[in-house]
Structure formats: C-alpha cells, structure tokens
C-alpha cells in the first residue's frame, strides 16, 4: 500500500508537471510582433509631431530618382549622342542606345514600370491617411502642416506619373485608392490626354498648399517640394505634351495611348503660358553667374527643385579621369563624345561649322564656349593640377584592358572645382531636377513653336549665353544669327538645350519628344584618338559606337507579363513581344 501511494504521488506530480508545461510560459511575449507596426501606428491620431508619418513621407520622397550614374552606374545621357559608357562590360545604356530590349526583356534600370507604381501607391497611402495625424506644426499662413505634406506626396505622385507618361505614353491612373488583394486590377490604360490632364490638375490643385521659396529653414527643410517645384513640373509636362511625339507626331496616330489623337498648336501656347507664369510670378529665381557652381552649391538662385544627394566624392570617383590614385582615384565611367564637343559654339557664340567662327581643328579647345570646359575634360586640360594625358598610352588613357575613356574625353560637369586642387574633397552632389534655365528655355521653345521668333525668345538665349560666358559680340546677339526663321530658331534652341543641360537627363527624352532620335540615334558616335609624337598630337576621329533607333522605340514596351496578366492592358505599337 505504501508503494501504491508513492506511485500516486509520482503520477500526480508528473501530471501536474505536464499540465504546467502546457499552460505555462504563455503571456511572456506579445501576441503579435509589435515591431511590425500597422497603419494606425504610422498615421497615429496621437502623434502630434507626425514622427512616423514623416518617415513614411520620406519613403515617398525616396522614389524621386537621382540621375547621377542612375542607369546601371551610367548617366542616361550615355545612351544619347552626347556620350558612351566607358564600361568594359555589357551595360544598360549601351542596350538602350542599341534598342536591345523587348517587352519580354525590359531594362529595369530605366523602364522600371513596377517601381513607379510602388511609389504611386505609397504616395496615395500617405495622401489618404495624413489627415488623421494631428500635426501641430504650421506653415505659410498658419495652416497645419498636413496640407503641405499631403501636397508634397501628391507632387511626387504626379512626378512619377509623368515619368511613366514620357516613357510609356498613357498609363493606368489609379486615382486615390491604394488597391487591395480583393480589388480588380485589370485596369486599362488611360489616354495620354487623361494622364496629362490628371497631372496638371493635381499640380494646379496643390500649388497653394505647398511651401513657398525661399525656404527659411534650409537646414531642415531645404529638400521639400515647393509651390515653385509644382509649377516647374507643370511647365515641363505641358512642354512634353505639346511636343511632336505626343502632339501630331504620334507613332500611332489614332491611338490615344500614344498621344493626342489630333495635333493642336494651342498646346504650345499652354506650355509657353505655364513657363511664362513661372517667370513672371516667381521673381526669386535668377541664373547663377557661375555655371559650374549650379550643381555644387546648395539653394542657389537657380535651383527650383532637386533630389537630395550627399556631400561626398562619388561623382568624382565614378566619372573622374583614370590615372590618379588614392583619394583622387577615378573610374572614368563616362566618355563624352566628339559629337557633344562639336555642339559647343566658339566663345563668340558661333558654331564651329560657321567659317567665320575662328575654329581651328588643330587647337579645337581654344576659344570655345566656356561651358565646354565646364562639361568635359579633354587632353591637355588641367585637372587636379595635372595636365591630362588622354592620348594613347597617356597617364589618363593607359594601354591594357582597364576601364578608361573611349573618346579621349572625361566628364567634368557636376564635379567640384578641382582644376587647381591637389585632391578631391567632399562636394555637394544633389541631383538638380528643375532649374531656372530650363523654365527659360521651355518658354523660348514653346513660344517659338507657337508664334515664331520674337525678341523675348532672343533675350532668353542671350541671357543663357551671357551667363555661360559667351561674348556679346558687336551686335550684342552673342553669336546668334539676327532675324532667324522659326526653324532656325528651333535649331538654336534645341542646341542650346543640348549643351546647357548636357548630362542632366534632358537630351535623351528631348530627342524623343522632338522626334529627332530616329535621325540622331542612327548616326555613329565619335571619339578622338590622339597619338603623341614628340611634342605634337595627331588627332583622328574614330567611331566608338553605332547606335540604332527604331520608330517603336519612341515609347518603351510595357513589360510583357503585365500585358498578359491584364486583359485590358494594351501594348505600345511595335512591341507585341
């Protein structure tokens, strides 16, 4: 019997232990992981500082692209006639310039359809929820910051839609809903017209609820979207909408997804008006006297809006000339072309093809538009106190298989003023998205297309050239021909945009909207081979790349999968696959 009791005791103990095992150790942790927070935490009705909401807004801003070495470490302009990539490996800008992409193999670095919609969704989520947050901070005339933040997100969303439209034409507009798993997402594309209208309406809507330039507290808010940024975007959108690619030169005339079904010159007027409105309304802006400094000085009078970069040596390291070591190491990623060099006029403003320009092929860098030296580095130029040797076998163009210039030129633009410095130092490298010179040239271009040359248009070009350091000349026309026709003026404006905005991601899309890509991008891209003999240099033009452009490339293909998965999605012309 004793033993029996013992057994019972043991049995009870073990059962109790087992019970404890199954019921114990609960409630030691939260039921769901609280570090993975939910929407009501991000947009909290008690967060009067908007800490979390601000972070979400930061993530929305993040979707603004930074153009520096954006396309697989190359500048998009290396896919135009202005430059080639120095990369020794296959790269996306070469594929872009060669048309080496299809609907089944889009190039994610430049045609990332899904990424834009990711940003659009985030912006929409922000727009829909920010009003919950009881922000205490106010702006402008004392209204709560909510409306400014909301409008900033709407700006980003509009900007992303514009990125889609200039690449793909009309795209599905999702409105103000962030779709859920249950939603039918077999959406058709909206027409180009609907997209442009949506973007412009949004921009007009938000204009008065954004902060105003100049921003007073630059150290904390130097990056925010302003009223002026919205109007600058509007100017650009309307300029694109008025351009031949969408306005009369559509690659598929009857197809509203590729442009306006009928051409209408009044769209040029809308574009000119938008630019004019900007010029007239926002007197804060002016051309910065020193061209080179636009890109490395913060909050200068020319910057309308920029994508935040950083204070670093990245641009110099990636694109600076090879042949330097230590902190001055450069990878020479970008090789500007002879085509671009030839596009710069002489210091007197005359094109080098003009027999009266004074151009000397044996001293081709002498007496040129000062912007040339601010844009490229050439053989014999001074950099880091050294005289660059980009001749064959020179220090900056060594033999062997190492990556180096393919054209004898290196990129100079965007870099700090290191001509006479011993070494690179940290430099501000923001990506300037809108600057005043663009608004001026937008106006000149649209006005010329709508009404032909006028003194105002001349004045724009003169202002730009004057700032660039071109001499006024006896006639005060800075090398411009007097009494130009509309066509001559168009050519002058196109070339001015090319050299003024080189490597600023304008030319690639300008060539498309002007429908000039089919000509320009089927011509060889040239470089210079320089052979040193004694103290002399022999120059020989060489073809470094043969691009190729096809009509269908005016618009990118929508990724094949997106078309197959969505029965209402229509592919762009020529891109069935």
């Amino acid at each position: 019997m004793r033993k029996m009791k013992f057994n019972k005791y043991i049995l009870l103990l073990s059962l109790a232990l087992t019970g404890a095992v199954f019921t114990g150790c609960q409630e030691d942790y939260e039921a769901v992981p609280l570090e993975q927070f939910t929407e009501d935490f991000v947009f909290s009705n008690t967060d009067s500082l908007g800490v979390q909401a601000k972070r979400y807004l930061n993530a929305v801003y993040y979707f603004l692209p930074n153009g520096h070495n954006r396309v697989w470490a190359d500048y998009l302009d290396a896919a135009t006639d202005d430059a080639v990539s120095s990369a020794i490996t296959e790269n996306d800008v070469t594929r872009l310039a060669r048309g080496q992409y299809t609907a089944q193999s889009t190039l994610g670095s430049e045609m990332n359809w899904g990424r834009y919609y990711q940003g659009i969704r985030m912006a929409t989520t922000f727009i829909n929820n920010i009003d919950v947050v009881p922000l205490m901070e106010t702006f402008n005339d004392g209204q709560p910051l909510n409306s400014a933040w909301k409008s900033e997100a709407r700006f980003v969303r509009a900007y992303l839609y514009f990125q889609l439209v200039k690449r793909f034409g009309g795209v599905p507009l999702l409105g103000d809903e962030a779709p859920t798993l249950e939603d039918d997402l077999e959406l058709p594309r909206n027409s180009v017209e609907e997209c442009v209208d949506f973007i412009v309406t949004e921009l007009d809507d938000i204009r008065d609820s954004l902060r105003i330039m100049p921003i007073s507290d630059l150290n904390s808010n130097g990056h925010v979207v302003t009223r002026e940024a919205a109007m600058a975007l509007k100017s650009r959108v309307l300029l694109y909408a008025a351009s031949p690619l969408f306005n009369g030169g559509n690659i598929d005339r009857a197809n509203p997804l590729t442009g306006y079904p009928s051409a209408d010159p009044i769209r040029w007027k809308d574009a000119a008006d938008a630019a004019k409105y900007f010029i007239d309304s926002y007197s804060f802006f002016d051309l910065l006297p020193e061209y080179k400094d636009i890109f490395i000085t913060s909050a200068n009078s020319e910057i309308i809006f920029h994508r935040q970069g950083g204070n670093n040596r990245e641009i110099e390291t990636r694109n600076g000339p090879v042949g330097f070591i230590g902190v001055n190491l450069g990878d020479g990623r970008t090789s500007p072309s002879q085509n671009l060099v030839d596009a710069f006029p002489m210091k007197n403003g005359k094109a080098i093809s003009d027999p009266t320009s004074g151009y000397d092929p044996a001293n081709m860098y002498v007496n040129r538009d000062p912007r040339l030296k601010a844009t490229i580095l050439h053989n014999g130029a001074t950099w880091l106190t050294e005289v660059l040797e980009t001749f064959d076998g020179g220090v900056n163009n060594p033999t062997g298989s190492v990556q180096k210039t393919k054209t004898s030129y290196y990129l100079r633009k965007f870099m700090g003023n290191f001509e006479n410095e011993n070494e690179y130092s940290d430099t501000r490298h923001d990506w300037i998205m809108f600057r005043y010179a663009e608004i001026l040239l937008n106006y000149a271009e649209a006005q010329n297309e709508f009404a032909g040359p006028s003194p105002e248009i001349y004045q724009v070009l003169i202002d730009i050239r004057n700032r660039a350091g071109i001499e006024p000349g006896d006639d005060g026309l800075y090398g411009l021909k007097a009494g130009m026709t509309k066509e001559e003026m168009r050519a002058a404006i196109h070339n001015e945009r090319r050299i003024e905005f080189a490597f600023e991601e304008h030319r690639y899309y300008d060539l498309r909207r002007w429908k000039e890509a089919e000509t320009v991008m089927n011509q060889p891209i040239r470089g210079l081979q320089i052979v040193k003999s004694g103290n002399n240099f022999n120059f020989r033009e060489i073809v470094v790349f043969e691009p190729s452009f096809d009509q269908r490339q005016y618009l990118y293909p929508i990724p094949y999968d997106e078309v197959v998965k969505n029965r209402n999605m229509i592919q762009n012309p020529g891109w069935e696959l």
Binding site: A59, P179, E186
Partner: protein, 1070 residues
C-alpha cells in the same frame, strides 16, 4: 584475464539479484575504468590491474570456478550473447547459449564449432585442448554490419517491426560512422532508400553575420528554401520534401552530432510515420536515435581516427600568356581594341619579367594539397537494475586548405574544432517509474582568414594568372586599380575570423507503467530544454597593394598604392541565439486478447522556439493513435492529430490531420505456412491527410504591416545638412487567409523475405498529392504597387518508388552481403495559376516540378549569311560563333514563346550499393553511390564564358576556353566564340536559360571504402586482457565517374571543393 571477463559477464547478473550490490558495483567499475584507461597507455600496468581486479572481486571466485567447464559467447565488449546457436561441425550436436551467454561444453578438442546468431556474423572456432582444461572456452562474435532488429524506432516511440506499415529505411552505427567528416550526413548518401542527399560544399560554411536565423539546431529545413540548420554542406530531399529531423523524440537539427554516438538513423516517408508532426506531417521524418545505456554491463569504446583530405577537381586556369592571347581575341571579336601587344605576349610566355607580366596560378599559390582531419571518441556505459549510464566524449578537428604564414602568431587557416559531451542516465525510481536524463553539450569553434574564406575562394576563381605579382620587388603586395586586395595578403595577412557556437541540451524522459490501475497502460513524458548561442570574433585587417611602375632607363620605379589600409580591428558579432523548449506527454495502452493485439495511445506536445529577437513560434499537437493486429497476420493502424500554430490568424490556427494503414502478411496464411523458403511476404498501405505549415508560414504575414528603413532604400536625407531621414515602408501585402499547405499521401509497400531471411526485398510506391501550396497568384500585376503575398493555391503531385534488396549469407565463417537501394521521384505540377502562354510547351502546368524553361541551342552560327537567314533575338549584335537558337513556333523571332523544358524533365533517380564481407577478423565494405536523370546548369559566366568584368578590368578564364569557336575550328568547337566583359547572348540572353549549358549531372562515386582488422580473440584475451582492438582504414570519394568533365557533378567551383578523405583509425573496446 578470462576470469576478469567472466567477472564482468556476471556482474550484471549479481546486480540483478540484489540491488544492494549496486553501490559496490559502481565502486568496482569506476576503479576498473580508471585502470583500464591507464592500462591502455601502459601495458606493463596490466598486471597490477589484474591483481586489483582480483582483489575487488575476490568474493566471486567460487562462482567462476563452477563454470570452468562451460563455454561462453560474448560480443566485442565482452558482454554475453544469448541464443547463439552452436553447431558442431560434422555432427548433429547443437547448443544454444543461455542468458549469461554460456553453453555446456560437451566436445572434443579438434572439433570445429560453428556459432551463429541473427545479429552477429557466423564464426568458426576449433576447440583446443587448453579450452577444456580450466582455461575456459570463450568465443566473441562480431556485430553484423547490416542490422535488422525486431524492434524499430518510430516517431516518439518504438514498435515491432512486424507491425510497421509505412516506408522506412534505417541504418546503424557501423554504416553511419564510416566516413570521417564534420557532418553525419556525409554517411547518408546512398545508404537509405528514399533519401536523396546532395553535397554542396566540401567544408561547413560558417555564418558570421549578425542575427542570422539559420545555422541553428532546431530550425527545421524548408522545402525550396534550402536547409537552415547546423547543416551547411548538404541538401536533403525525401520524395520532394525536406524531411523533419527528430533526434531522440525531439524535433531538432543536430547534424554535427558525433557519429559514434548515433545508434540509428531512419528515414520514414509515409503519412502514418509523420502524422504526429501535425502541421509538419507532409514532410518525411528523419529519425535519429542516439546510443542509450543498453544493458547493465560496463563497457568502454575508444575510437581514434586521423586522415588526410585533398580536393577533388580544382579548375585549370589559363596561363597568363594564354589569357592575354585569348583576351585580345575576345576584345577584337567585339570590335574593341586589343589590350596586349606582341611584346606583352612574349613577356608572359617567357616569364622574362614576373613583376610586369606575372603568371600566378592562384590555386597552387594559395592552397595546400593536403589538410588533416581527425576525430576521437570515448564512450562508456554501464549500470545496474536501478540506474544505467552512457557517457561519451568526442573531439573532432578538420583543417582547411589555405596556406598559412609562419609570420603569424595565430592561425589563419580555415578550421573547425568540435567538442561534444553526451551523457545519459536512466534511473528506475520504482519498478513502474523510469526516469531518463540526457545532457548534451557541444562547443564548436571555427576559424577562417579575416578576409572571409568564401570571398577568397571566389577571388581565386576570378583573378587571372597575369593580374598582378604576388609581391613587388620591394616585398610589398602587388595589385592595381582593378585588383585592390592582394590574394596572398587576404589569405595570410588579413587577420582571422573565429566563430564559436555552444549548445546545451537537457532532456528528461519519464515513463510510468500504470499496470496497477489498468493493465497495459503506461504514461510517458518528455521535457527538453536547449539553447544555442553562436558568435564570431572578427580580427580583421587589410593591406594596401602597390602597382610598381619601373622608371625609364633603369631609374628607380614608382609604387602607386591602391585599395584600403585598415589596421586590425576587433569586432564581436552575435550571430544567433536561440532557445528551445519542447514538451511531450502521452498515454500508451496495449493488450492482447487471444490473437488480437491492440495498442492505443494519446500524444500531446508543444514546441517553443525563440530565435534571436523573433517572437517564439509555438507549434503544438494533440493526437490519438490506434494499432491492431490479428495474429501477426492482419494489421491496421490509424491516427489523427489536431495541430496548432500560433503564427496564423486567430481562428485559423487549428488543423486536423489523419492517417491510416492496413497490412497483411500473406506468408502467415495457412496455404503458405509450409513454404519454407518464404519467411515473410507482407503487403501494406498507408494513406493520410497531412500538412506543411510551420516552416513556410512566414512571420505573421496575415497582418498588414510596415517597417522602418534606417539607411539607404526608403530613407531620404533631410535639408541642407543631409540629416538622416529614416523611412517607413509597407511590407509585402498581407494575406489574411494564409493557412498551411495540405497533402494526400499514399504509400503502398511490400516486405519480402526469402531463403531463411538471406534475401530481403522491400519495395515502395507512393503518390503524394500536395495542394493549397503557397504561391503568388498568376495575375500579380505590378499596378498593385506592392508585392503579392503567398496564397494557398498551388497543387503538385509527387510519385515514384523505392526498392531495397539485400542478400547476405556465409560460406563457413566467410560472411558476405550485398545491399542495394534505388529511388525515383517523379512529379507533376497540377496547378500554378499560370499566366497565359500560347503554346503547350511553354506551360509549366502538367510538367514535372523541377522543370526549367529556356531556349534550345542548335549549334553555332558559322557565317553572317546564316545569321541573316535565321530567327534571332532582337537587339543583339550576333556574330559567327554565337549560339543559334531554335525558333520553336516559327514566328521568325527568338523570344519566350520559344521556351521549352530544357532541364529537370526526367524523374530524379538515385541509388546506392554496399558490398562487404567479414572473414576472420577482417571487415571490408564499399559503398557505391550514384544518381541519374539529374541535370545541372553550367551557368557560371566566370567559368564557362571567362573574361568577365572584374574591377575596371577583365577576370579569369579557364583552359577549356581553348575549345572556343573560331572560323578555323567551326566544325569542332565546343564553346561559342570568345567575348570580353560578359556575353549575355551566349550565356543567357535577357537572363533566359538555354539548353546549351545543360549538362548531365549523372554520376557514380566510390563513396566510401572501409577495411578493418580486429585482432583475434587469442591475442585480445591473452595479451590485451580481453580488450578488443580493431585497426581500420577508410576512404571517401575515392573515385567519381561523371558525364560532366569540367567540374564535380555536385560541388561547384565557387564553393569549397569536395574532399577526398583517406583515414586510418583504431578502435578499442572492452
């Protein structure tokens, strides 16, 4: 010494008789243990020991004398073996040993005895005169290599093998312990039907990054997600699923257990075997049972092994001259300027200036040919009727093949040291209540060069021979703008990373016989607590490299520095930390009414795993099981499990899974009873509904959540000061309805045993239909702006068969066996919500699960004309010497519509065969292991295409590049024309696969060879005091035959290469 042995043999007998002897017994065994250990080192002390032993056991002398006239049969430890049949040759006379292993010795000198027992090799022994004259007659028998015990381990218990209805393949210690390796898995390949093992690396791959979730015991492998566990060298696959590892009744990965400690490993693949796993039951069970205190005799075993490893198949790089020559060709093919001049060629070729034109085969320079590997294990067990123990100490060491430098006071080579202590104590508290305590401690220490072994291997693989000199004339490390981190410096002068993991596992088993309440009822419970911590210390530095530029006209040159100089830093990384808490309890009931055998059981368990900072996961199960058999003839079994998992949405956390099986032993039927060549003919079938839900459930993915992004993506610098602006971003779209995957698993099998069990055949057929598989939906358009979640939509079928055939027999005492196994896994994708594809051959649905799609290669373009006439891929500049692809749909263009299956269409089949014999103390066995219907994709651009971009220059290329296409060799070329800096058109246009790079992955390896010699009884007994000594040599991966000739069929070049291991060892038992 024979007396001593007998003393041992009887010790347990006495202890059984009277528990009071226990204390005494412990005392004696302890003393003896110590002396035996000393004796091993100092043979001269044997005598002292003998005296002492006689002293402590003096009281038993009488007993010994009384059995002097009989013989005794023991195993290698000297434990008695009962039921040994002893046949006197040429006579009818047969003896059988009793419980104490004794038998009456009624024979004449000169007669030959044949001793046989199902678990031991048949042995012959001639009776000598002194056997009968007081010396005593003693024979020891040798364990069979292939074991076939009547009881088998199943999940959370054991059962009569006869009643088992599922599919199981089991191996035992001898098979497991043969390879000398850091992982016990290296012995699995080719041994068990139904388990496919692929080796991915020749060395463990230590994780030294912070907060890593893998590399932990207890984290269970995920299908398709690779294996996350302490196993980093192998992938395991059983019927298309990664099996769940259960060690001694607890779910955990513990692949770096000491093989000497493992009693058996079994892969059980049917639904009934795994159903108690509930939400993990879709996957097979890999059951590991470690050695237990088996009986109440003191026994000791020591094994020491030492071996040499060398790498199988190191790639052959091009010499610097060949590289330069072919790079020029590649550049010119693409219309680029050549990089090297004629003078460069000459300099590379003649080695005239090894600074400017070096030729370094990095494999030769940085890697040693041989590296040592060793292991030592000592285990002892013993005890009495009240308590038994088993204690094992193990040490393992493996060194890597990196060259080291005498300049360092520390080790930079790769290496692993492992210490395991495993102790078990079984206590019978009362006759009814038994308690088992297991404590396992493991310390694993690893080392690697500071620069990281995998990075070094990768760079050895990518750096051309002519890239830079190892040292400059002034002794500094060579390098240049592209190669900024000298490989020699990385190998011997980059400091070191040492990692350490510590595991502690404590286990309490409790079993309680409740016969006094209900006859046949018992209760058992297990509680297991374990923890693992893994950390790494990084003492890492980096040196500058210098490019030497000689001055003109013999002047002093210039040294240009590149790279980064960082002095040794000292950093601690907390790699992983995990706590495991597992508890299990259940009742078992069995009864026998006439010929009806009935068993029933309940089971409940909960497993709490807290890994790093994640909330604990808590899978739990409640289950019932019933077993029935009628007279060992008809069998039935059924089980149902209610399974819970806390990471699902509330209301979706419980699931029901069930399985049942039927069996029929036809040979027991009356009409076959008299067929004496048929020992067993069992037919059996199991069907069940299973689940797969714990390991693929994600982390609370039913909640729509956000995360903070501190730097980089989704953050935005603020204002003119670029103040960090953290971001908050959406996580993937939530799936509020997520649930476990489900399966309907059917297994039909047969066990046939013929000719007095000499020939045994086991065959299985299975058909596992998995549904509600987690996949993203087909219409996952990017307009959503967020990633789509996994949803329960897919359906796949896995089916196939396995076969095991074993034949064993003896000719006198020449015992031999052949055992072979084969398995095949076919599959079919039934539903994947596939987007529309215009052609049937584009579709995945209806094709095998492993199928991969790509373009079909059709030789090379040999002329521009041919290119112009052919369909091509848009945008590429194609040249003669490029691969021609087939336009399957004849639309004049090569695109994804020309995709068809190029890989994985055939059902993977694998096999193994072990042949062996035992003769007069010599054991020999050899394992052949192979796979067929396997294909590999040779997609490594560095290796297959060569000249990939590296830094600002071009990387390595290998000797097979000689066989590239050129206009002259267009007829015989094996590879396309050369290109520099990537040639995606040939290697995989637009990231597509092409059939050109598919090669057969079939192979046959001589996986394991083992030869041992055990000293004869005479020597052991008379000179070594009964200590059994065995010497052995073994070899792994001695020979490989494969279709693919450029690399090993299993291990790729970027990984640590597969090792051939030759080792020698000694085993001592008493």
């Amino acid at each position: 010494m024979i007396r001593t042995r007998k003393y041992h043999s009887n010790m347990g007998f006495y202890a059984n008789k009277d528990a009071r002897h226990l204390r005494n017994y412990y005392l004696k065994t302890d003393i003896m243990f110590k002396f035996y250990r000393i004796a091993n080192k100092h043979a001269a002390l044997l005598l002292v020991m003998m005296l002492l032993v006689s002293f402590v056991q003096g009281q038993d002398v009488d007993q010994l004398m009384s059995i002097a006239e009989s013989g005794i049969v023991t195993d290698n430890y000297g434990n008695p073996i009962s039921n040994v049949t002893i046949h006197v040759k040429g006579q009818e006379k047969t003896f059988v040993t009793d419980q104490a292993g004794r038998f009456e010795l009624d024979v004449e000198p000169g007669q030959v005895l044949v001793l046989s027992h199902p678990e031991y090799y048949t042995s012959k022994r001639k009776v000598k005169a002194n056997d009968l004259s007081g010396g005593g007659f003693s024979v020891s028998l040798h364990d069979k290599y292939l074991k076939d015990p009547d009881q088998m381990d199943v999940l959370y218990g054991s059962m009569d093998k006869e009643s088992f209805l599922g599919a199981a393949s089991t191996i035992y210690t001898d098979q497991i312990a043969s390879p000398l390796s850091s992982s016990v898995i290296s012995s699995f390949a080719g041994r068990m039907a139904g388990l496919y093992v692929q080796q991915n690396s020749g060395f463990r791959s230590p994780n030294t990054t912070s907060n890593a979730n893998n590399d932990l015991i207890g984290s269970v492998p995920v299908l398709g997600g690779g294996i996350t566990s302490d196993n980093t060298m192998f992938s395991l696959n059983s019927r298309g699923m990664g099996p769940v590892v259960v060690v001694d009744g607890v779910q955990r990965e513990l692949f770096s257990l000491d093989p000497e400690n493992i009693e058996s490993v079994s892969i059980q693949r049917d639904a009934l075997s795994s159903i108690f796993l509930g939400m993990r039951s879709s996957r097979g069970v890999l059951l590991v049972t470690t050695k237990k205190p088996t009986d109440n005799q003191f026994q000791l075993s020591f094994t020491g092994r030492y071996g040499i490893q060398n790498s199988i198949r190191i790639p052959e790089p091009l010499s610097a001259y060949q590289h330069a020559y072919l790079l020029n060709e590649a550049l010119q093919n693409d219309g680029n300027a050549p990089a090297y001049t004629y003078e460069d060629f000459e300099a590379f070729k003649n080695g005239t200036n090894l600074i400017s034109h070096p030729n370094n085969n990095w494999y030769d320079i940085l890697l040693e040919d041989n590296a040592p590997i060793q292991s030592y294990n000592l285990n002892v067990s013993g005890g009495g009727s009240v308590a038994k123990y088993y204690v094992s100490l193990g040490y393992f060491n493996q060194e890597g093949f990196f060259r080291t430098s005498g300049m360092n006071s520390y080790n930079t080579n790769m290496g692993i040291d492992r210490y395991i202590i495993n102790s078990k104590l079984d206590v019978n508290i009362t006759d009814e209540l038994k308690l088992g305590v297991t404590i396992i401690g493991r310390i694993e220490e690893g080392n690697q060069p500071g620069s990281g072994y995998s990075g070094i291997l990768d760079d050895i693989f990518r750096t051309p021979n002519g890239a830079y000199p190892v040292y400059n004339p002034d002794g500094s490390y060579g390098g240049n703008i592209s190669f900024t981190n000298n490989l020699m410096s990385r190998t011997v002068n980059s400091g070191y990373i040492s990692d350490e993991s510590r595991d502690a596992i404590a286990n309490i088993d409790l079993s309680y016989a409740l016969d006094s309440y209900v006859k046949g009822l018992s209760f058992k419970a297990i509680t297991n607590v374990s923890s693992q911590n893994k950390g790494a210390i990084e003492r890492v530095k980096r040196s500058l490299v210098y490019e030497y530029k000689p001055g003109e006209d013999g002047e002093d040159g210039r040294y240009d520095p590149f790279g980064v100089l960082s002095s040794q830093n000292n950093n601690f990384v907390s790699v992983a930390s995990a706590r495991f808490w597992y508890s299990q309890a259940g009742f078992d009931y069995h009864t026998k009414i006439d010929k009806h055998n009935i068993e029933a059981g309940t089971h409940a368990d909960i497993n709490v795993v807290t890994s790093n900072y994640d909330l604990p996961q808590r899978p739990a199960n409640i289950a019932l099981r019933g077993r029935y058999n009628y007279d060992g003839k008809y069998f039935a079994e059924a089980a149902v499990t209610e399974s819970y998992f806390n990471r699902y949405n509330e209301g979706d956390r419980w699931g029901t899974f069930y399985a049942f099986g039927l069996g029929w032993d036809v040979s027991r039927e009356n009409f076959l009873k008299d067929v004496d060549w048929l020992n067993q003919f069992k037919l059996r079938a199991v069907y069940g509904k299973t689940g797969n839900g714990v390991d693929n459930s994600g982390y609370y993915v039913w909640r729509q959540t956000f995360r903070t992004a501190y730097f980089g993506d989704y953050s935005y610098p603020q204002g003119n000061n670029y103040t960090t602006g953290e971001g908050v971003v959406n996580n993937t779209l939530a799936n509020p309805n997520i649930s476990w995957e489900k399966g309907h698993k059917l297994n039909i099998g047969t066990d046939i045993s013929l000719f007095n069990n000499r020939l045994q055949i086991t065959g299985e057929y299975y058909r596992d239909n998995y549904f509600d598989l987690l996949q993203t939906r087909g219409r996952n358009v990017q307009l959503m702006g967020l990633g789509y979640p996994n949803e329960n939509i897919g359906e796949k079928l896995f089916y196939g068969g396995e076969l095991t055939v074993t034949y064993q027999d003896n000719i006198g005492d020449f015992n031999y066996f052949v055992t072979a196994n084969w398995g095949q896994n076919s599959s079919e994708v039934l539903f994947v919500d596939e987007q529309h594809k215009p052609y049937e051959y584009n579709m995945v649905t209806g094709k095998p699960d492993a199928v991969r799609f790509g373009l079909t290669a059709d030789g090379f373009f040999n002329s521009v004309d041919e290119i112009e006439r052919s369909a091509v891929i848009g945008g590429f500049e194609i040249q003669p010497g490029d691969i021609k692809y087939k336009d399957l749909n004849n639309d004049g263009e090569i695109n994804t519509f020309d995709f068809s299956p190029i890989l994985g269409e055939k059902p993977l089949s694998y096999y193994g065969m072990t042949v062996g014999f035992n003769y007069k103390g010599v054991d020999f066995n050899v394992l052949l292991q192979g796979v067929y219907n396997r294909e590999i994709y040779m997609g490594d651009n560095v290796f297959m295409a060569g000249f990939q971009g590296y830094g600002q220059s071009y990387g390595q290329a290998y000797s097979h590049m000689i066989e590239r296409w050129t206009p002259e060799t267009s007829e015989t070329a094996r590879f396309p024309r050369l290109a520099a800096g990537g040639n995606s058109y040939n290697m995989g246009p637009n990231g597509w696969l092409t059939s050109f790079w598919v090669e057969s992955g079939d192979y046959l390896r001589v996986k394991d060879v083992y030869l041992a010699y055990t000293l004869p009884d005479v020597v052991c007994n008379q000179l070594l005091g009964g200590t059994k000594v065995k010497f052995f040599v073994s070899g792994q991966n001695l020979f490989t035959g494969s279709d693919v000739d450029l690399r090993d069929p299993e291990v790729e070049f970027r990984s640590y290469p597969l090792q051939r291991v030759l080792s020698t060892g000694i085993n001592v038992k008493f």
